[in-house]
Point group: C2
Chain length 356, copies 2
């Protein structure tokens, strides 16, 4: 028998291993309060049971459940560096809402997974408050979640955050891009910034969250940058917006919708195009926000890599027939015509007009 299996002199308790059950319980009571506000009449019972219950009811003809899982990426490290946690909670929910919106789904409920080692109670509640606020704003029930204490897997104060969403759509109203035709119009909805993608590259460029020290990270992020009209930190923490309110009334006019996340325009627009069609993007139709030029210059990044990594100012691409497109452009604030659907030659790329 090895030495480590000898009895310890003082009895060990679970808290000695870095798992504070009482703190977890205080967090659950804070969570209950937040979930109470971010609820819907369909929710049965409360947070604390082994599972969350949501009464879908018999009001649908042929309901399809639409689900997605997501994280916030290393935007979390920027949030930690600046001690601002509420925004990333909102990022997480809005990202998920947009993902299922692309299928034409109404979001119903959300669950979160928060894993950490020693993130103080106050910061945990800030994260969950952000999640709750965004759920409330989107009319989504915060149905439950898991808070996991994982000492030795996370560095003290580090954490990760994942979100899960479920929505519903009638089967005959599902949007999957299959109705997209040659000549359809691509309509851009503006992003608020990087949304939740490209942060590892940005951190590499500016050296943030790379072990150079919390003080130095904060200093760099808090510096005013003329070109950005504010600090780099503010620009990087801009909240990933939800497109639900703008897009919901337009759904009957749309043939497809791409959420511009990791992979940018060339990675995401092709996901909804039927075979034999391509997206011809009109790069002259917009000027990406100054943040993108600032990142590109600082990192010496090539144009093509910028478009493959960042959303470059476009949060969502909607596809509509020309007559519907006119109505969509009028109804969606800040939207613009960013391209057109064309026929695609065999073996040609599904996106044209962007830098290689």
């Amino acid at each position: 028998m090895s030495a480590s299996t000898e009895p310890s002199p003082t009895p060990l308790r679970y808290a000695d291993a870095g798992v504070d059950v009482q703190a977890a319980e205080a967090s659950i009571s804070g969570l209950r309060m937040i979930a109470g506000r971010a609820s819907r009449p369909e929710v049965l019972g409360g947070v604390g049971a082994f599972a969350g219950l949501f009464r879908l009811g018999g009001g649908y003809r042929d309901p399809v459940l639409v689900a997605s899982a997501d994280g916030v990426g290393t935007k979390l490290l920027i949030a930690s560096a600046l001690g601002r946690y509420e925004g990333v909670g909102q990022d997480l929910v809005n990202h998920c809402v947009n993902d299922i919106l692309t299928a034409g789904a109404e979001p119903l409920f959300f669950l979160d997974y928060l894993a950490t080692a020693g993130l103080p109670q106050e910061q945990r509640l800030e994260l969950v408050a952000g999640i709750g606020a965004a759920c409330e704003a989107n009319g989504v029930a915060l149905l439950g979640g898991e808070t996991a204490d994982m000492p030795d897997l996370y560095q003290p104060g580090d954490y990760d955050l994942a979100g899960f969403i479920v929505g519903v759509a009638e089967r005959d109203a599902i949007l999957d891009g299959s109705a997209i035709e040659e000549g359809d119009v691509l309509i851009a909805l503006p992003s608020t910034g990087l949304q939740t993608n490209g942060y590892s590259l940005v951190r590499e460029i500016f050296g943030v969250g790379k072990g150079l020290g919390a003080e130095r990270d904060r200093e760099l992020l808090d510096e005013h940058v003329e070109e950005l009209g504010g600090t780099l930190g503010e620009a990087l923490l801009a909240v990933h917006g939800s497109f639900l309110e703008v897009v919901r009334p337009l759904l009957p006019r749309l043939r497809g919708m791409a959420h511009i996340t990791g992979g940018g325009l060339p990675g995401n627009v092709p996901r909804i195009l039927p075979g034999g069609l391509r997206a011809q993007i009109d790069m002259a139709s917009w000027e990406p926000a100054p943040l993108f030029a600032h990142i590109q210059r600082a990192g010496g990044i090539e144009d093509g890599e910028m478009f493959r990594t960042f959303n470059m100012g476009i949060g969502m691409v909607l596809v509509a027939s020309p007559p519907d497109a006119a109505a969509v452009l009028e109804a969606a604030p800040g939207s613009w015509r960013c391209g057109v659907v064309e026929r695609r030659a065999e073996g040609a790329p599904a996106v044209a007009g962007l830098p290689e």
Copy 2:
């Protein structure tokens, strides 16, 4: 402008920041293959869209969706130390299946969240293969998931894993414990080991995953322990079992069900008891597996703390009326009568018979 915003000499690419998009794509194709096996006829479209689609259909009178989010805790660090990843994927799914089973739900679909920095492709696929195999075994569709590369947030090779499940039950068949009465019988279903709880304490006791080196961790875990009839590592990695197959045919006979996870019997059984009732546990009715005694002795842990931290051999507690209990005990392999529901005096604890 600070020095770090000067152009870099060589153009940076996203892969330089530790995010390997091609590896992620290879993983997606492996995931597609696995998800293809762990599917159901209700799944529309494939993994790769922005969201997963599951056709619930109009066959339900008053459907209630039952959802849960979970992780595996620091059992992940034991799996890493031994280089065995498939089991924790199964743990994750089975944990989720059991959680919604407590409400009487049939599991429909599952999504995973895998976050890592530099976990090799082979290990990622092993994790997802475990998830897929458990989904298949439970008849659950693997509807999608997110694989996130998060350099600087995770140590190289570290990872975290979260799961999200949705099931369905008719509203009038929901089990919530409210029908439980004085005199009802508590029936234990055996656990396979620690399931997914208490690993941080176990690692503290044995000094595993505490930075003492991979080789030393592996050596300790691979040592044969007479009392366990095998190695400590094998005992600790025993897969969290799914109770779906055993419990599903028994659901009409049950009044409540508690999944014994974090908090053990005293933390979980009270969650389903109506006010004014308590669970009187008969500790003489079973002998916890040798693993629990081994842990207790090695850590010098008090009895009460053992029961508050570990499941102590009981994976699930079912509650049934005395006549139904007889049928349940006969039908469920390895089950036993572990207690009874009694009246509870005002202010008295909701569980009796366990060490303080």
